[in-house]
Symmetry: C2
Subunit: 125 residues, 2 copies
Amino acid sequence: MRIGELAKAAGVSVRSLRYYEEQRLLTSTRSPSGQRHFRDADIDRVGFIQRLYAAGLSSRTITELLPCVDAPSETTSDAAMERMEQERERLSAHIEELVRTRDALDVLMATNRAHRKTLRRATAA
Amino acid sequence: MRIGELAKAAGVSVRSLRYYEEQRLLTSTRSPSGQRHFRDADIDRVGFIQRLYAAGLSSRTITELLPCVDAPSETTSDAAMERMEQERERLSAHIEELVRTRDALDVLMATNRAHRKTLRRATAA
DNA sequence: CTTGCCTCTGACATTGATGTCAGGTTTTAG
DNA sequence: CTAAAACCTGACATCAATGTCAGAGGCAAG
């Protein structure tokens, strides 16, 4: 599978895939002429990477976690496990904060809706 | 209240406060010598701004929403209401995605924990 | 063979909030 | 009064993922 095909399948840009490889998040074999060749499994892998990016993890952190995806059968380093715990906690905190922000937004919207209603009534009168 | 005091009270840098003002998220009166002077209410305002930033809103978007906080008694423009709905939806989607990512992380951790246990047993034997 | 599309490397640009530095003025404490 | 600390403006730096461009080579179809 060449890079363009993977890009389309995973819904990311070719540029991003090259970047992921550069960051050692992705590996490719090279054809004699130097073109990258990816495996089917890389589609899911890219999806997972994107998900982690969206969750605010950095390339560096993802690099630390991916070995656990690749080879869960080998000894997962204590450092990696700790990193995962850490990121999970960070994620939970972030989620909670977002929920609180959404609530704040809801209050704001309710307040403004109420005022608009008041205004409409006044205008009608 | 001078800028340093507000910075400390709100837990942000002086630099950020100047930036917020530049972005019209914050207003200050100036002393004769040109120093900024803020109101107590700005502590909460900065907190809210930070919360929205953390939720991924841009300065531009926040600028559109803040009038609704300042003057909910005036006519809240349809555009602003729509913007709020929009951001709320975006926020919800993001939260959901984060939760899914956290779940994925949980699965990953469980898998690795299981393998570690297996390994320990093998080592012990 | 040629045309068109894909790929390669390498480099520079972008975005947005913030850090940092410089050089100068103001305020505050001793 | 003086020195330290806080403030001012303006400018440049940063980080990270991605866009974009340039110049060159690869590969399939007509």
